[in-house]
Amino acid sequence: MALERNVLIMEVTSRYKVRAFGITKDIIGGKETVVEMEGSTVGELRRYLVSRYPSLTGLRSLFIAVNHTYAEDAQGLSEADEIALIPPVSGG
């Protein structure tokens, strides 16, 4: 615990809540996961998730939404953002 607090103070590791929908719910095993990682962009989050859940690479596409909007990989993240995994959509 002391170590973790120390890391947070150094602002190297961030903690993001990530919601999952459709097939990504099956892949990550739930509706939400918490990611603690170094890095603060959508692209970094994507690489982190793909390394933790390799099955994500089997999807036809994988977008990440930040605050209800499709996000580019370069976009920065803050811990308060609502982040979601968007596998290929199939509404209609």
Binding site: D26, P88, V89, G92
Partner: protein
């Protein structure tokens, strides 16, 4: 009116929302659950939505449509939850002064909704289930 709902969609209500006294034309698209897919019998579908974002994305699409065509009214309702064959999954209705615009605007909205709105369906067969279009190997078969 843009709505994501677990209840059966009242098609007439969506149409009423889209109607306008200045309009001469209303076009309505209704998506229904087919009883077969990939030559297998569909028992039911499970629809799931990221609701707040789905409403926001559909709103963007309708706004874009109203820049391109003279929309006088519009309504979009998408159902989620368990749907059996024959049930209505989505209704898009638009009204415009003249008919060509109503066809074009309605098709624009449903085409973009299907491409962008964060909504997912899982087909449930007798021998299994499958998230539609999720995996590359299925992508070709599942086009509609």
């Amino acid at each position: 009116m843009i709505k994501i709902t677990e209840k059966a969609i009242d098609v007439q209500k969506v149409i009423d929302t889209a109607c306008s006294l200045g309009a001469g034309a209303v076009n309505v698209f209704i998506g229904t659950v087919r009883n077969t897919a990939h030559a297998k019998n569909v028992l039911w579908l499970e629809y799931e939505a990221y609701e707040s974002m789905a409403v926001a994305e559909i709103k963007k699409i309708v706004d874009e449509a109203s820049h391109r065509w003279p929309l006088l009214g519009s309504g979009v309702s998408h159902r989620i939850g368990t749907l059996k064959p024959g049930e209505v999954s989505v209704v898009v209705a638009v009204s415009t002064p003249h008919r060509r615009d109503s066809f074009e605007a309605c098709q624009f909205i449903i085409d973009n909704l299907k491409e962008k709105a964060p909504i997912w369906k899982k087909e449930v067969f007798e021998d299994g289930e499958e998230w539609i279009s999720a995996q590359p190997v299925r992508a070709v078969e599942a086009q509609s």
